[in-house]
Symmetry: C2
Subunit: 553 residues, 2 copies
């Protein structure tokens, strides 16, 4: 019996740290927190999803006791269909979280084998040798839980995405008493959400959005369309309430919105009065002042319902002058331009659009600086590891912790893949473990790597030029071609001369080689590539990919 | 003599309206305002620049009397090298603006033919039959001028990018007296910058940034690096002043920064004390507290000096623990993620980074809502056209104008290409004129169109599969192949089976066609395309571009 030791390992790739998956290792057992997706970066064209590399866990799968989910957002549950087949362990989560997980696993044909274990906020569960308490916290999705994980070394408090909402819609404030109690008993390590660590003050209460919605509904005579995140059940409830109060019907549009509204209603998280829901095909039967349409597309996603409405391409909904469109969300960084374009189009169709960050029409789900300091003072942890944010946010969160008196040497910034070694008296970064990101493209998981991505990037910049050279396999003589075909390089009909010259350049280069015999294909291909590359750059200042193909007949 | 009529035509493509180029037509003559570039959108991979389509002007080139530049930003002068060869007319601008234009034309070998005419704020010029007054305004570049264009129909006041800075660095406040005088005499049409129309309140004075800089310099012992826009001469002056006050030397890094600092110093817009400038190769000779480095890269541009420093790839500058990096700019929408990544890397190298929008380290160059209303009240125009902004900003600006009493029917929202017809009593959108955007890629101007862009987008998503089929031209028999080569689709070494199966699929499809004779190439190509497309989608859920090439021997 030495000093009890616990390892904490944030898994995943670049970007946010400790967000999508974290492993806790103690007494030879492993507990996994969350299994979420990351969203592809601009430099990953064609990639659908990014999931954490779980090699480390798969190699130790006999010791993994379970996956505990904190809440139902994609970046916390979306990787389950890829993780469970390799790591078939029990999955713990609250009712709504598991409701969303079920739908997801069903879609992948994985539901029947899955072992889902429902937990409630306020409960404790023994999972292997881990004692886990589930603590109610507020967030932009219902049924979010923080985790207190009791280990022989001490208690780890894992504060996933959260905020302190003093007036939440369901009346259930973040369990401050429990946090205080844990703090009193002693928290060895606090890990906490840093998403809004750069934002001063307090985050707006969700209830403020309800008041704004009520205002807008009161003064609006035409149809009202509301776009928001499908998973934001409390937001949706407030839209339902405002619409109901103004005797409007409600139509729900967009696959994920229909899906989540169905699940949340069935599980009792969303209350839609009888007779209020109207099929989208029938919205034409109602007068404008009787209609509310709830839709996806608040991030300007090109295939979403709202984007299609704005482009006048939606099957059931046409935007009409006099419509009011409420975009109840802030653009996620990187989406500003597409969201802006959707708004421009809606305005040109004659709609009123309510969207500004100053309008009180959206509230973040993440704690701001004052709340983060409040948490630190309430819990008074010995050690602190900021998580859920990009590096600069963790740095800012660290400064907040220092401002409330946590000694700098007790705060550790980690990167995904770092094994943090925790004892009752120490916290340090030990070695790195295998980790990273696995790209999902269509049905392929992990078959798109750096080579494929680099080719896609090159192709997207200047296109491709394919050169087919057909030679006699005995004599090495050119028997046809060279054929030159391009895509994404120049508009060929207007560049026939250039293409013809390119052909001549290749032919001349090949003829120079004939004396040596056209049989060393590798060097012939490089010759074609170099000749053509030089010629095209000179003439166009572009560098298309050049793909020589030699056919022997 | 009928009623005098003037046409106002914003030229350019999608995006900001009336920003890059505007034509004013009166008494059979045309005056062009600005000739700027737009920046390529995400959907334009490989495109370097976007310039306005000037067909309308070229077709009337005998009537074009000149191009008047308002200021030296790229989105106002950057298209000149493409416009002047087709439209060799005199170019009017202030001293600094022309200084920047000269460097640009020199680079393109166009300086000797250009007819540049220097003007000063406060002056008037007769250009053809247009009487043009140049009015000093504040902006994030020095020497910016608004234009009062006097026509027989009345005065058009063109308020390009501007703000009201009550305490500008050079002491020259926007010429409020002149604006008031024009208002008193009567402005028929006001066109004004809408960039910050959605922002409440007043825009921060540039001087506040100087105070923040001075604070940071006072408390910093290590090296200080400042990244900002090269063209923001007043910002640079404030960096110079703060550095000089703290007895630091200054090194300038980054091509455009070196370029602009040179021009601005030579023309007297920037004052760098003797002996203060140090070549970047010699920064190692100074102690950290003696050194300031001024650099480009405030937008996270991948090839910029700051990005290369952050990636530890800069030839002369290595980031060291203890360095303080000031990013004196806000990310332009769409750049948040790349800027964030640069900050993360700098932090990991041990630098302190000052960047937050709450830090007072940057001030916008555009007027906010209170300033825009102030302008409207000062000028009291009969008609109003909001410009320089995306559609939603113009809509908000229109509301501001209505709030200060401009009747709705006197406000016109236009799109690029709309010919606005103005008389002393009316303003309306007449027909549309040829307009749009021309893409510049390498040396090619306008040769990248929708077909090429669509191909690039497809290529970037799932790559390409090339199928070469070699047939005997007499018998139609397959004599070699099919050869199947892919790029950007799957990593071939790990997908050999898939590629082999693809080959078999094509071969089988072709063999089915042999009885009919393999001579109808078009239908054979479609057959290959369809067979392969179906097969690959089934197996991978991806849709690479499929490029069949038939070679006859």
């Amino acid at each position: 019996m030495g000093v009890p030791k616990v390892s904490v390992i944030p898994l995943g790739g670049l970007g946010e740290i400790g967000k999508n998956m974290t492993a806790i290792e103690s007494q030879g057992e492993i507990l996994v927190i969350d299994a979420g997706v990351m969203f592809p970066e601009d430099e990953m064209p064609g990639v659908d999803l990014v999931i954490p590399d779980i090699t480390y866990l798969v190699e130790r799968k006999d010791r993994v006791r379970g996956i505990v989910l904190t809440h139902g957002h994609e970046d916390h549950i979306g990787a389950l269909p890829y993780v469970l087949p390799q790591l078939p362990v029990p999955v713990y989560g609250t009712r709504l979280t598991l409701g969303l997980v079920e739908a997801k696993l069903e879609e992948h044909g994985l539901l029947s084998e899955a072992r889902l274990r429902e937990v409630r906020a306020g409960e404790s569960r023994t999972i292997g040798r881990f004692e886990v308490e589930f603590i109610h916290v507020n967030h932009s999705i219902a049924d979010d839980v923080a985790l207190a994980i009791h280990t022989p070394a001490g208690t780890i408090l894992y504060m996933t995405d959260f905020k302190f909402d003093q007036t939440p819609i369901d009346g259930k404030v973040t369990d401050l008493q429990k946090l205080a109690e844990l703090g009193r008993k002693g928290v060895l390590l606090l890990m906490a959400d840093s998403t809004n660590a750069e934002r001063p003050g307090y985050t707006l209460s969700e209830r403020v959005v309800g008041e704004t919605l009520m205002d807008v509904f009161s003064r609006t005579r035409g149809r009202i369309l509301v776009a928001t995140f499908a998973s934001n059940i409390h937001r949706i409830q407030q839209v339902v309430d405002a619409a109901h109060h103004h005797r409007r019907k409600l139509a729900v549009v967009g696959r994920s919105m229909v899906n989540v509204v169905g699940i949340a209603t069935r599980l009792g998280y969303l209350n839609i009065p009888d007779g209020m829901l109207v099929p989208v095909e029938e919205i034409g039967r109602y007068k404008p002042h009787q209609m509310t349409i709830l839709t996806t597309g608040s991030q300007g996603e090109p295939m979403s319902a709202l984007s299609r409405m704005a482009a006048q391409e939606h099957r059931n909904v046409s935007i009409l002058p006099g419509d009011t469109v409420i975009i109840s969300a802030n653009p996620i960084p990187g989406n500003e331009r597409v969201v802006g374009r959707v708004i421009d189009r809606l305005l040109k169709l004659g709609a009123e659009v309510i969207h500004s960050p100053f309008s009180g029409i959206h509230a973040s789900g993440h704690a701001s600086q004052e709340e983060l300091k409040f948490l630190l003072n309430l819990v008074r942890p010995k050690f602190f590891v900021p998580i859920h944010g990009e590096y600069r946010m963790l740095v800012t969160h660290k400064r907040l912790a220092m401002a409330v008196g946590i000694p700098e040497e007790n705060i550790q910034l980690a990167e995904n893949g770092d094994r943090l070694e925790l004892t009752p008296d120490s916290l340090r970064v030990a070695e790195r473990v295998p980790s990273g990101q696995v790209l999902v493209d269509g049905l392929g998981v992990g078959d798109v790597g750096q080579v494929v991505l680099r080719d896609r990037r090159v192709l997207s910049q200047d296109g491709i030029m394919v050169v087919v050279v057909t030679v006699d396999k005995r004599t090495g003589q050119l028997v046809a071609g060279p054929e030159v075909v391009s895509r994404g390089f120049v508009y060929v009909r207007e560049a026939e001369d250039l293409m013809e010259e390119a052909r001549l350049q290749v032919r001349r280069a090949l003829e120079r080689r004939v004396p040596d015999g056209l049989t060393d294909w590798q060097s012939i291909k490089s010759e074609v590539r170099e000749t053509l590359s030089r010629f095209l750059f000179e003439r166009t200042h572009r560098r298309p990919m050049i793909l020589p193909i030699v056919v022997e007949v």
